[in-house]
Amino acid sequence: MAEPGRIPVPLRLCRGCRRFVRIENEACDFCGADLAALEAAHAGDVAALHAAMDALRAAMAAHAAPLPEREGSGVGES
């Protein structure tokens, strides 16, 4: 059987300065930021953006739905 390849040593991303740092770090070696706090903030931002996108999609779907018929109404009614 072939000798296995070299397993890459992974790093983690500092959401503050965007540098990659050692995966076991709690603070960024380049900017000093709290990595876990930045990660939590990022997760919150992503969740909020997803929620906004879902709301937008729902609103667009509702706008595209056919309008219910009303008595006396017609095209061009102002």
């Binding site: 070299r6 397993i7 890459p8 040593v9 540098r19 990659f20 992503v46």
Partner: protein, 402 residues
Amino acid sequence: MNVERADFRLPVRYSGLDDILKRVPVSVVWEITLACDLACQHCGSRAGRRRRDELSTAEALDLVGQIAELGARSVGLIGGEAYLRKDWLQIVAAVRAAGMECDLQTGGRNLTADRVAAAAAAGLNAVGISIDGIGATHDRLRGVPGSFELALAAMHNVRDAGLEVGVNTQINARTLHELPELMGIIIAAGCRNWQLAITTAMGNAADHPDMLLQPWQMMDVLPLLADLAVRGREQGLFLQPASNIGYFGPHESRLRNVMDEEIHFHGCNAGDTVMGIEADGTIKSCPGLPSPYAGGNIRDRRLRDIWENAEPMAFNRRRTVDDLWGYCRTCYYAETCLAGCTWTAHALMGRAGNNPMCHHRALDFESRGLRERLVKVKDAEGRSFDHGEFEIVVEPVPACHG
């Protein structure tokens, strides 16, 4: 923050952890002939004439089967110029029949509509066309007047045949400032995959040190490419940095983001998930590496035997920080990066393990008011995949640098 991600299909030549553990040569790059219809100033293999003893059709088709047996998913045909080999369509068809993807990397000079149509009929999946700069810049680098327009025409021929068309571009002193405008041109021509690599000091390029980038220019290259990657993605273009572009610094995530911001460079893949084959059957762990890295010849040994047992194929997977030297030995990223692209490091320094073409390294030197400059101290010998040697001079950043 980018949450809306374009729907990009990852090329099959991208490898995962399972491929690494099993050492599957996911991506095989095969120089099927060294004959060429261009005369590129930066050609690492010094292509032009056929090699003395190129594989016969029977040998080549047998090799296709051996490649498939190892689990390869993608075979990239290169040269020289692959279509100059009379049996190239048979090779394409055999690769496809064996269940692997087949793409062509070409200078495009004579990639006519008929030629593309025949290749599509044989099963070719995609074509990457080399375009280095715009107009006269490209023509000079490729050594043939009019070759830029021919390359664009080849792109259109590929698109018209319904194949995927990508572009490969060399980044050097002559092309760097043209990259933004070039991106617009290739997007308009239908390109969706743009692979960029720094010109390596090998072969013909080693004879033109003025063409090569300096280490301190990584301060310009990386921010530019990260910006182009974002702008390109907005226009449906996937910018793929080669393994000799990097490393780390604040732009790494933007540059290497393949649907995941946390992807980063993880070291050379040579001999783990990448294999190179020369036209005479020589097997290497990477297509660009020089002859000391050759593991054997398929006329003498089976491909599996070379891949699994040949000592020169093992250098990368056994490499540790102890094999590094110079700046790379004590770098913050030493354990992950292991001096980046072996090909680049060896071509410049005469051996692997210390790679000055690095953004993190350039930033570190700049923070101390310094920069590294390469000075050529030895010429290349004039053989295919040869190289000279450079020394690194550490100097203060000039007052007007930038």
